[in-house]
Amino acid sequence: MNAPAQPPAAPPWTPRIVAFFCNWCTYTAADLAGVSRLKYAPNVRVIRLMCSGRVDPQFILEALRRGADGVLIGGCHPGDCHYVEGNYKMLRRFGLLQRMLADLGIPPARVRLEWISAAEGERVKAVINDMTRQLQALGPLDLPGKFADWDAEIADLAATLQTESAKEPEATHTWEPPKVLVQPQ
């Protein structure tokens, strides 16, 4: 089709998932999914950590804040942690974090903790596809956009002040209400 006048249609939105995978189980499983040529949605971007115990809740919040629509944490099955029980420590944090996130308006489906062993390449595929579907249904989280929205009120006033001060450079009253209030009756 030859339609140069039409701007290209905006690509359909798909979620962005940041995944923190432990080196020994889930990262290896993701490698296995690759070696097995399993196909899954390209929405996930994996960060390798040595253990799910290393997943600092700050990382999760940072990922959401930077624009991730979901965060996936993958660790070894209970009892299988390469570091004995790092995964339990993540699990314990996770319960508290999910409650806190719910109170901050982030539904539980956006942050997911999964135990995936090194042999479960299929499970990597299933979890990523499933999470992609779920997030697709939830729609964008778009925290950067929300931050910009929130800050628009500041930017607006700052811009107004800027122009006002430009108009009246000397000893001006940039702020009207007090002037009105102090006027004698």
Partner: protein
């Protein structure tokens, strides 16, 4: 945006990996994109980065362009990180100024849209570039290695691995659960395809193990605990009592003849219950160690395993002043120190009762393959005569392949050895009994040296091969000729007709499966299991005997079904890997340890989190201290330090934050239409 210091000079390389990456990721486009990112001095794409020319390219560029960071986008870091670190080090840079991006396993191989895969590769590369800018030089730490090796399991795999290491001058502890080493192979009559006698080739190796000065053989023992790490494992072994002192017993077996039980009465495990033994017994004539043992469950001097001292103890009298029999023997736990571990715990034959339509346990003349191995063996319960449980001699025998293999209701995998051992048994049974032999198979799998020729030979011998998985074994006769017989009902899929074949004996070619306690063993050694329960190798092609735990290797059927030649080859490979590890004398440890910063407040939150007790508390400074020799680098304490006062080399907070930021800043180009699911 991370502000890059002016001196950061990153070299970026994207690997085509032949077509593996290039077919799904536009490598030139990725290089062009990364080339314009801040801090990147050069960005190249190259066909094979891991090749020698690829590595030399990195070294040349480091010198020529003054690179001080290197990022390679190629395969998984688990595969080639060490390769590129070495290349970077050879180029004169600290190896930890290298960072790797996985665009093969995590992009090209798993996605189907080239534009989406390319976009993802760019994003992953951008994150790595940001992160690499923060990389710090780190020292390589060396740790000495204990030269001893633990071999777990005394089957042919364990025996071969132990002997190989012992011959190389290393001390080996060989731990076997049963009373004798030998494993399943010791029970076999002949071996395919050469038909040499299993005992004849195995026994000399067993004796060599028993006699070798470098091998400490502990049979009737279990590994109960493994601590430590590569090069320095501390292993606890439980030695169960045999009620016979191993040092004093000479293996004369006079005690057995003089046991209060005049006749063998109890099912003999070695002969699969087809023969009988006494409470005091030796598993089989060539058992190693040549030491008798007492079964406290049936010995009169015990009651249900508890010593009662009610027997006349004729065995003790027979032993005389050798005084080897010791009813007071207790279980002991011993501790050993080793540098490497080879796990060769073998397999368990499939329990044929799980396939009830074949009538095992219902019809006495249905046998498992292992029972038939003993039946045809000259030292077996019938001295090699093919006599059925009802005393008859068979004139027609059916061998049913794939019992507990290639079946999603039981085990879905092919057990690899059953076709060949079924043919071997067909040959032996025909040779011993002259009966008509029918093999019922789904597919004949004979991929080995001389295996197809063996199949040819069986065809020449007149053994029938009927392609069809047997529907049922029944004693219900439809025609007079079937009376008193076991009838095989099967579709002869090549002829396309359903057939009923009356036979006298049915042999079930049982598949191989993991031991029932494979999960417990896996946890003991910190290994992984595949979905089917066999131990998982580090890489199916390139690291087939290594596991994900450094210093722990696997050999034999515990990793998956395989035949004797493959098992021996793998055992040799495992021994060689262990040797390569311990002979080096030291290991380089990944410097991903945690470290306490000067601002620690001494809150002690991290102390209970360390599973290795690597974190201590310095009472003088009131701060936590991390013993880097004990730290394994999980980073749990780092994530949990409430004041951010613990760092982790290679995984510092700012490095991870920069990677997150790199992954999520606006996409490098209009996002192509990504399919939500492929």
């Amino acid at each position: 945006m991370v502000s890059l210091k002016p001196e950061i000079r990153i070299g970026f390389y994207v690997c085509h990996c032949g077509h593996n990456i290039a077919s799904m990721v536009d490598c030139a486009d990725v290089a062009a994109y990364v080339g314009q990112l801040p801090g990147v001095v050069l960005a190249r794409d190259y066909k094979y980065m891991c090749s020698d020319p690829g590595q030399e390219l990195i070294q040349k560029d480091i010198a020529e362009f003054g690179l001080n960071r290197v990022v390679v986008a190629s395969c998984s870091p688990l595969l080639h990180e060490h390769t590129f670190r070495a290349a970077v080090a050879a180029g004169g840079l600290n190896p930890f100024l290298f960072h790797m991006v996985n665009i093969r396993e995590h992009a090209s191989w798993v996605h189907t849209d080239r534009a989406a895969a390319t976009a993802k590769a760019k994003v992953l590369a951008r994150a790595a570039i940001r992160r690499a800018a923060l990389a710090r030089e780190l020292p390589q730490r060396q740790i000495p290695i204990n030269p001893g090796v633990l071999v777990v399991g005394g089957g042919i795999a364990g025996i071969h691995a132990a002997l190989t290491l012992a011959e190389a001058g290393k001390h080996v502890w060989l731990i076997e659960r049963e009373a004798s080493i030998g494993g399943h192979m010791a029970k076999f009559d002949k071996t395919f395809p050469t038909l040499d006698c299993a005992a004849c080739i195995l026994t000399p190796k067993m004796s060599a193990v028993g006699a070798h000065p470098n091998i400490t053989l502990w049979s009737h023992s279990d590994v109960v605990q493994v601590d430590g790490y590569v090069g320095n494992y501390t292993v606890k072994v439980r030695r169960r009592p045999r009620y016979v002192n191993e040092e004093l017993c000479t293996g004369c077996q006079e005690c057995i003849g003089n046991c209060i039980y005049k006749e063998p009465k109890f099912p003999d495990e070695f002969n699969e219950g087809l023969g009988k033994r006494k409470p005091i017994h030796i598993p089989f004539p060539q058992a190693t160690p040549q030491v008798v043992l007492i079964d406290p469950q049936v010995c009169l001097n015990f009651k249900r395993g508890v010593l009662t001292d009610r027997c006349k103890k004729t065995c003790v009298e027979a032993c005389g002043d050798r005084k080897a029999i010791d009813f007071t023997q207790k279980e002991e736990t011993k501790e050993i120190q080793v540098g490497a571990i080879i796990v060769a715990t073998g397999f368990k034959p499939f329990d044929v009762r799980r396939v009830p339509q074949y009538g095992y346990g219902t019809y006495p003349n249905v046998y498992t393959a292992l029972e038939v191995e003993r039946l045809v063996n000259a030292s077996g319960p019938t001295a090699g005569e093919i006599v059925l449980r009802d005393g008859r001699r068979p004139s027609a025998i059916a061998i049913i392949h794939c019992v507990g293999s290639r079946d999603k209701k039981t085990n879905r995998w092919c057990s690899r050895v059953c076709c060949m051992y079924s043919m071997k048994l067909a040959h032996l049974l025909k040779e011993h009994s002259g009966a008509e032999l029918y093999n019922f198979y789904i597919d004949i799998r004979a991929p080995g040296k001389g295996y197809e020729e063996f199949y040819d030979k069986l065809n020449e011998e007149g053994v029938h091969f009927i392609r069809g998985r047997v529907g049922e074994v029944t004693d219900w006769a439809m025609i007079p000729e079937e009376e008193g017989k076991l009838v095989i009902r099967v579709e002869d899929t090549l002829a396309g007709v359903v057939r009923r074949i009356p036979v006298d004996m049915v042999v079930l070619a049982t598949g191989l499966e993991p031991h029932a306690d494979a999960q417990a063993v896996r946890r003991l050694f910190n290994m992984s299991c595949g979905t089917e329960g066999f131990f998982l190798e580090r890489h199916p092609k390139l690291a087939p005997v290594s596991t994900f735990t450094d210093g722990v290797y696997i050999a034999g059927c515990c990793q998956g079904p395989r035949d004797i030649p493959d098992t021996v080859a793998q055992a040799g490979a495992a021994a060689a890997e262990a040797l390569a590890l311990i002979d080096r004398g030291h290991i380089l440890q990944e410097p991903n340890t945690a470290h306490v910063l000067a601002d620690c407040s001494g809150c002690k939150s991290c102390l209970p989190l360390c599973p290795y007790t690597a974190i201590g508390f310095d009472e003088a400074t009131h701060q936590a201290v991390i013993n880097e020799a004990l730290c394994k680098g999980c980073g749990t304490c780092v994530a949990a330090c409430p004041s951010g006062s613990i760092g982790q080399h290679l995984f510092e907070d700012d490095e991870v934050f920069s990677e997150i930021e790199g992954l999520l800043t606006a996409d490098p180009e209009p996002t192509p239409a990504l399919a939500a699911t492929p």
